[in-house]
């Protein structure tokens, strides 16, 4: 039986970064992926002359060359920085609420303040205060809060994390309503709730603040060739370091003995032994289905019971036979809503009724290579829970899919009226498509529902089986940067543990 130090189950962002890091850290690693391609969400597919980005809308955390941020270090350490090319986006986003507002926010901290003040002069002072709070909450959350936590000293907390203490753990809507009186400004500035999946009343202010601050200061990015490029680069780095990768080969069982991991049984029936398993599958699949026994550790059960299923998404991938200019697209990322009330938009996410809000990303506005000359690559998205889709009879599925797609296109055409006319290629992904390709319950795209109770500051690592680690959106925040970071940091923990074990044996 073949032995590996580490088996990584799933080549999503968390699995890829973890596998590259453990192999490059000197531990023999086997990376398993059920599909023929790495990436999970971070993937692409080809239709006709178009290659469609599946999931990356705006990569955060990279920073510029002159002002680098954490992801640059991580990508460097994983050996992929010279294998991919990043494309900087000029804007944060455009928010269009027909008849109410239409504003594009620039990807610049100073520019953001200026734009907000121009449109909302009566809130000039509040905007200054808001931006100061965002910056401090973000920096404290990133730098001094971990220190306060380690010291467990209230003085450190109060002295060095004053803004986080006051604002960080309240809801975004609560803080915004305290600072601003203009409802339109509140709606505009909280559009990024779409990247978290819960409306401003249910998301932590610190999450919104850090998204706005990070995107504006460290810029939003696309990847040349799509996120698939980065996934492929991570596999390349992993193979170069001597790692074994198996595609079209899922894990069947995680094998244990006396409460510890001993190996993995593959889809083919083969077994390998290992000292650690890093699972990029949902922990619901990892613990409830992959483990070779039914005694779910109490701590894990408690954790699961306090979680709620997160949102999935409905996505339309469009290859259009026209330029972004012909469509009227002026910003790569737009949010579109028929109401200023994000709570109402969020309420629709459980139903088949016409979506009230959605987003549209045009990938070739800042990167002409993202579509053939004269054409456009566009993704339309609305968040939606998977439940309603699971009630659809198989023979009604396709009809239901097209009917709902018509509704989402109707919404987007309120702002970009000619979309239908130019369609050359189209692919529609429902929450069941997410289920199929991500293997996540509910087709969840950001893991568990990211209400404040989901925060990492409230959670501990899922323990109970020695040598079993979870990475991915379910045990960290959802999205690209958090899952890349979770994979890398988990790999560091695994390397440390394995090195300690080896040292004891010497």
């Amino acid at each position: 039986m073949k032995h590996y130090d580490v088996v990584v189950i799933g080549a999503g962002n968390g699995g890829l970064t973890a596998a590259a890091a453990t192999q490059r850290g000197g531990k023999t690693t086997l990376l398993l992926e059920r599909h023929n391609i790495p990436g999970g969400c971070a993937t692409s597919f080809v239709r006709g002359n178009f290659e469609f980005e599946v999931a990356l809308h705006q990569l955060s955390g990279l920073g510029t060359e002159s002002q680098p941020f954490v992801m640059r270090d991580i990508f460097n350490s994983l050996g992929v920085m010279d294998k991919v090319e990043f494309i900087q986006e000029r804007d944060l986003y455009r928010l269009a609420v027909p008849g109410e507002l239409d504003i594009t926010l620039p990807a610049s901290w100073k520019g953001l303040q200026k734009t907000l003040q121009e449109h909302f002069p009566e809130e000039e002072q509040a905007i200054v205060q808001f931006m100061d709070i965002c910056e401090k909450v973000t920096l404290e959350g990133f730098l001094t809060l971990p220190k306060a936590k380690r010291s467990n000293n209230p003085e450190v907390l109060n002295d060095e994390c004053a803004h986080f203490v006051k604002y960080g753990f309240r809801s975004a809507l609560d803080v915004l309503s305290e600072l601003f009186s203009n409802k339109k400004l509140i709606t505009l500035i909280s559009s990024y709730w779409n990247y978290v999946g819960v409306p401003p009343s249910q998301m932590l202010f610190s999450d919104l603040a850090s998204m706005l601050y990070s995107y504006a200061v460290f810029k939003p990015w696309h990847i040349k060739g799509g996120s698939q490029s980065l996934s492929n680069a991570l596999v390349e780095s992993f193979i170069e370091a001597g790692g074994d990768v198996r595609f079209n080969c899922g894990a069947e069982k995680i094998l244990t003995e006396a409460g510890g991991v001993t190996g993995v049984q593959l889809e083919t029936g083969e077994r390998v032994t290992c000292n650690a398993v890093i699972s990029n599958a949902s922990p619901l699949v990892t613990f409830n289905e992959l483990l070779d026994h039914d005694q779910l550790p109490i701590k894990v059960q408690q954790d699961f019971k306090s979680r709620r299923m997160g949102t999935s998404a409905f996505v339309i991938y469009l290859g259009l036979d026209c330029t972004p200019e012909e469509l009227g697209i002026t910003a790569p990322s737009s949010f579109i809503s028929s109401t200023l009330d994000w709570e109402a938009v969020s309420d629709r996410m459980e139903a088949f009724d016409s979506p009230l809000g959605g987003m549209i990303t045009c990938y070739n506005l800042d990167d002409p290579d993202a579509a053939p000359p004269g054409k456009s690559q566009v993704a339309l998205v609305c968040l939606q829970y998977g439940d309603v889709w699971q009630t659809v009879a198989p023979e009604e599925y396709v009809k239901t899919k097209y009917a709902f797609a018509e509704k989402l296109i109707d919404l987007i055409e309120q702002v970009y009226p000619k979309v239908r006319h130019f369609i050359e290629e189209i692919e529609v992904a429902t929450p069941l498509t997410m289920m199929r390709y991500l293997n996540t319950p509910g087709g969840a795209i950001y893991g568990f529902k990211q209400t404040p109770e989901d925060s990492n500051l409230i959670r501990e690592r899922l323990e109970g089986v020695n040598g079993l680690y979870s990475v991915g959106s379910w045990t960290s925040m959802g999205g690209f940067q958090p899952t890349y970071m979770a994979g890398e940091s988990t790999a560091r923990a695994v390397l440390k543990k394995l090195n300690q074990m080896e040292a004891q044996h010497v």
Binding site: N36, I37, S44, V46, G48, E51, A148, K149, S151, N152, P154, V156, L157, C161, V165, K166, Y167, G168, F169, G225, G226, Q228, S229, S231, N232, A233, V235, I239, F247, N248, V285, N288, E289, L296, K305, S306, D321, Q390, P394, E395, Y397, Y402, A405, R420, I423, E424, E425, I426, V428, L432, M435, R436, N439, T440, P441, P452, E453, S455, L457, I458
Partner: protein
């Protein structure tokens, strides 16, 4: 959580902690949705179907229809008219597969009809026509493919240009439209070399005479004196007379590769936008050496060695698609469309060179990092691949 947790000093923290404890009381450990993903996906997109041949119908001298049913008698997964299944077979110890379009209507889910024409120099088609028997068991993929009507942009005026067995998906689309009373107009322009090659001839002619929204135009390129229908090849003149307001239609093209290419050229000359033309993929090219960028001085019959990393090596011809030679020599990889589109047979080229023909719809980064679609890749030197 310990009372001495310093984070309790954060405004709102303790409330969230309490609310988490409340959630824990009412929540579930999700055991009730165990296998939920698998079961849900399996109903719509099963990876494999276990089938058996129920009936065999002789269509023409070179064509048979195989009615496949589930080996358990269950209904088969739904599909969109125009889609295919990939049928896995073992022929004298060689495990291989071929994609075949479903000929029957999506409304009837107790069976899939596959109409298979004997291909010149074929392997699996010969096996099917000569050896497949009723009651024989077969395994296939689930229904797949993007060659189908899409109500989001195809419209209601549909013209299908079929060559030879390219009429198979057309039949399914036609039956779907008629049985569901869809408000589409369907015009089938069906081209065959000889009149006796016309598959579904009686059925199509009967439907054309009774169904107002179905038009059949038969074209025979090598007519005998008493052939029905138009004689000769398709031309722009013929098509523009036959199809009014030609630029407003949606075209479906399915036939041999030269037929497909000539149809695209004709339609483009008539001003039809590429976005109004859908073409079904049709396997690896027979003459990749006639395509642009074929390496100079390399001939299709040259011998090359393929090494499968860690597993062995064998000799093959440059002109043999990699997937075929892998299968002939006992290796395998997942596959479905075998035409360079679905990406399931993606493997890594470790060393050497392959020719990726225009059929290979590779992702940009796959191209960059040496991942190839083995179904349409031609080894132009000794190569090593990672399966």
């Amino acid at each position: 959580m310990s009372e001495h947790n310093v984070l309790n000093g954060i405004v709102g923290y303790q409330e969230v902690w309490q609310s988490k404890a409340a959630l824990e009381k009412t929540g579930s450990n999700f055991q009730e949705i165990k296998q939920d993903v698998q079961k849900t996906v399996e109903r719509i997109h099963p990876k494999r179907l276990s089938l058996k041949v129920d009936r065999i119908i002789e269509e023409t001298a070179s064509t048979k229809t195989f009615r496949l049913v589930s080996s358990t008698g269950a209904v088969l997964p739904p599909f969109q008219a125009g889609q295919y299944i990939n049928v896995f077979v073992d022929i004298n110890g060689v495990a291989t597969a071929r994609p075949y379009a479903i000929a029957s209507s999506p409304a009837h889910r107790h069976y899939y009809d596959l109409t298979i024409k004997r291909a010149e120099g074929g392997f699996v088609s010969h096996f099917a026509l000569d050896q497949l028997k009723e009651e024989q068991a077969l395994t296939s993929s689930g229904p797949m493919g993007t060659f189908h009507h899409n109500p989001l942009f195809h419209g209601e005026d549909l013209v299908f240009l079929a060559g030879g067995s390219g009429s198979v998906p057309a039949r399914s689309m036609l039956l779907d439209i008629l049985e569901r009373n869809l408000p589409y107009r369907f015009h089938l322009i069906y081209v065959n070399s000889f009149e006796h090659d016309v598959i579904y001839a009686k059925e199509l002619r009967a439907l054309a005479s009774t169904q107002a929204n179905f038009t059949l135009t038969e074209v025979v390129t090598r007519p005998t004196s008493n052939s029905q229908g138009h004689k000769g090849r398709l031309t722009t003149e013929f098509l523009s007379n036959l199809v009014p307001s030609i630029t407003d239609k949606m075209f479906y093209i399915c036939g041999p590769t030269p037929f497909n290419e000539s149809c695209i050229t004709l339609l483009t000359q008539l001003g039809v936008k590429r976005r109004r033309i859908r073409v079904e993929a049709n396997g690896a090219p027979k003459r990749p050496d006639l395509q642009q960028n074929w390496p100079e001085g390399v001939s299709l019959n040259e011998e090359v060695t393929v090494t499968v990393k860690g597993k062995g090596s064998y000799k093959t011809r440059v002109g043999e698609p990699l997937l075929n030679s892998l299968e002939t020599h006992g290796f395998s990889t997942e596959n479905a469309c075998r035409s360079g589109e679905c990406s399931l047979c993606r493997v890594k080229l470790v060393s050497g060179t392959v020719f990726n023909p225009s059929e290979a719809h590779l992702r940009k980064s796959d191209r960059k990092f040496g991942w190839i679609y083995s179904c349409v890749a031609f080894p132009t030197s000794d190569i090593e691949v990672l399966l």
